[in-house]
Symmetry: C2
Subunit: 353 residues, 2 copies
Amino acid sequence: MDLTERQKRVLRAVVELYIDTAEPVGSKAILEHSDLNVSSATVRNELAELTALGLLEQPHTSAGRVPAPKGYRFYVNALMEEHRLSVQETERLNEALHLKMRELDRVMDEAGRVVSQLTRYPAFALSSGTPRVTVKRFDVLMVERNAFIAVVMTDNDHLSNHLFRLPQPLERSQLQLLAALLNGSFTGLTLEEFTPQLVRSAAQALGDELGLVPMVISFTMEVLEEQRGKLVRTAGLDSLFAHPEYQDLSKAQPLMRYLAQAENVESLTVPEGQNTSILIGPENVHEALKDSSVVLATYDMGDNTKGVIGVVGPTRMDYATVLARLEYVAQGLSHLFEQSQLPHPAKKEDSDQ
Amino acid sequence: MDLTERQKRVLRAVVELYIDTAEPVGSKAILEHSDLNVSSATVRNELAELTALGLLEQPHTSAGRVPAPKGYRFYVNALMEEHRLSVQETERLNEALHLKMRELDRVMDEAGRVVSQLTRYPAFALSSGTPRVTVKRFDVLMVERNAFIAVVMTDNDHLSNHLFRLPQPLERSQLQLLAALLNGSFTGLTLEEFTPQLVRSAAQALGDELGLVPMVISFTMEVLEEQRGKLVRTAGLDSLFAHPEYQDLSKAQPLMRYLAQAENVESLTVPEGQNTSILIGPENVHEALKDSSVVLATYDMGDNTKGVIGVVGPTRMDYATVLARLEYVAQGLSHLFEQSQLPHPAKKEDSDQ
DNA sequence: TTTAGCACTCATTCTTTCCGAGTGCTAATG
DNA sequence: CATTAGCACTCGGAAAGAATGAGTGCTAAA
C-alpha cells in the first residue's frame, strides 16, 4: 500500500488524535494537529481517499473519521515512532519492578500487576510450560525419627519438596536406600512413563512395607503434572473500565470473560523468531478479541524457554508507549531469571547422582 | 425485634421473591408465593408496617417493596432455612473440587475458581500469613561440584528451596559446615533478627570466601518475607455481570477495583470463634462494599492457622445456598490440608538438628 | 489541484407524552 | 377490631418528537 506523503500525515494525525481523544476526528481537528498548509476541504478529500482504501472508517455519514484496523496496522508498521522511555518513566518502572519474590507464581503475579498499572490496561503474564519434564534428581532428608522431606529436582531446574510424616520411626539407612532407588528407577522419565508396575517393582526392591515409594512417587507425579502446565496470571481487569470503549457492559463483558479463562490467555503467543507482537482487532483469532488489540512481549525464563507478558486494550491503544513499557518489563524479567541461574550459565554436567 | 407470625411470612416472601426475581415485590406477588389466606390489602398493611420498621424499603412511592439491609439481616438470622445440598450438588462440588495441586498458591487459585463457578459470584481465597515465622531447619544438598540446593524449613512447616550455582567447585565438607552453621546461628530468628552483623560474623566463622552465607541468608530472608504475608487469590470477577445490580458500570466498577486490590480482600476476616460470617450491605466497613454482601467461611490450614474463602455479591444474594456451598468447599480444603500433614498429627519433637 | 460555500445528514440530547403497576386511603363488612 | 373491596393517585420508565450542531460531500470558482 503506497500513500502520498500528505496522506500519511493525515492518517497519522487521525490515528494519534483518535488515540488521544477517543472521538471521531474531523478535518478541522487534523489541520490543528498536523502542520499541513492546506484547507479543510483538501483534507476532506484525502480523508475520502483513505476511507476508500479501508484505512479509515466513518461511524456514520456525518461524523469524523476513525482509524480502521487496517489503518492502525499501517500506523504501527510504518508511521509509529518508537516511544523513548523518559527518565521519569524508567525510574517509575524500576521502582514498580521490585521483583524480589522467588516463587514463579508470585513473580508473574507481580509482573502482571506492574504492567497493568503502568499501561492502564489489563495485563497478563504467562510462563511457558515444560511439556516433557522429567525428574533429574531426588533427595531425601531426614527431619525427625518419623518424618522426612523429599526434594524433587526436575530437568528444568525447578525444585519441589514435601514433608512426609510417618506412623512409625525410620532408619536413616532406609531413607538412603529409598533415595538411591528413586534416583535409579525414576529419573529421566516423563509423567506417562510412571507406570504402576514400575512403582510396584520398585517398592518390592526396597522391601517397602511403609509405602514410602508410592507416597513419594505420587507426590512426584503431581510435581511433573504441575511443571508441564503453563502458568497464567492476569491483573488489572478493572482498568478496562478506564477506557470509553468498554463503558458499555456488552463490550466489556465478553472480554472480561475471555481474560478470566486461563486457557484463552494461554493461547496468546508471539510468533517464532519475534520478541514482540501486536494484534489489532480482527487480526485476533478469538471472537472476544475482535474489537480489541493485544500487545505481547516475550521474556527469557532461562533454560531457553520463553514466557510472555502482554496487555489487552481497545484497538485505539497507545501502541508505541505500551510496547516500550512492555519490553522494558520483559527485559527486567529476563534479567531476574538470568540472575537466579547465577554466575555460571554453564550447562549441567551431572557429575553427581 | 418481634414480628407477628404473619409479618414474618410476608417478610420472608418478599426476601425470597426478590432474591429470585430482582424486581420489587408487590402485594399480589406475595399472595401467590406464600400461602396466606388474606387479601392483598391486608398484605399491603403488613408491608407498610414492615417498611416503618426499616425492614423493607420502597424504591419509589408506587413500586413494590425491596428488602432493606435490616430485612436481609432478619431473614438470615431468623427466617432462612439451612440449604441442604442435594446429591447432585455434592457430586458437582466433589467433581469440581479436584484439588490435587500441592502448592498453596495453586490450591487457593483452584478453590477460588471452584467457589466462583459454583455460586456464580466473584470469589476469593486467602491464606493466613504467619507474622512471626522463623526458620526451623536448614539443609544443604550438593548437586554438582559447583552447585548446591539450600532447603529452608520454616516453623509453619513450609519448605522452600533454591539452587545455587557457584563460580568454582566446592568440597562436600564445606557444605556440611555451612549447614551446621546455619542451623546453629539462624534458626528460631524472625526476619527482623537477621542483622548484617550476624551474617558477617557467621561468614567469618565459616571462613566464607565465596559468599555462601550471605547468599543463602538473603534467600532465607525472602522466604520469611513471603511466609509472613497473606496470600490472596480472586476468581470469577466477570461473574459480577451476571447480576442485574451490576449492569450499571458505576456500580460494578468500584467493586471490581476493590476486589482487584489484594489488601482490601485481605482485610475480610471472620470474627473470632465463628466459622462463617455474613456481612450485609452497610454492615461492611469498606465503602465499596456498602451496596454488596460478603459471605465468608474459614478453613483449617493445619498448624491451627485459618484461611478464609468467600464470595461477594449483591445484597440480594441467595445466602442459604451460597453459605452451604462455601462451607462445603471450606471443609474440602480443611481435609486437604489435614491430609498433607499426613497420618500422625503428632506435634514436632525436634529430635534431630 | 485546491478551496470557499452551502445544503444535507444523522447521532445526541432534551422534552413531552403516555402507560400501568402498585400504592394508600376510605368506607363497608363480619 | 381486623379485614377487605374499591378507587384515586403517584411516579418511574418507555416511546415518540423536536432541537442542536458537528462534520460531511458536492459544486463551482480560482
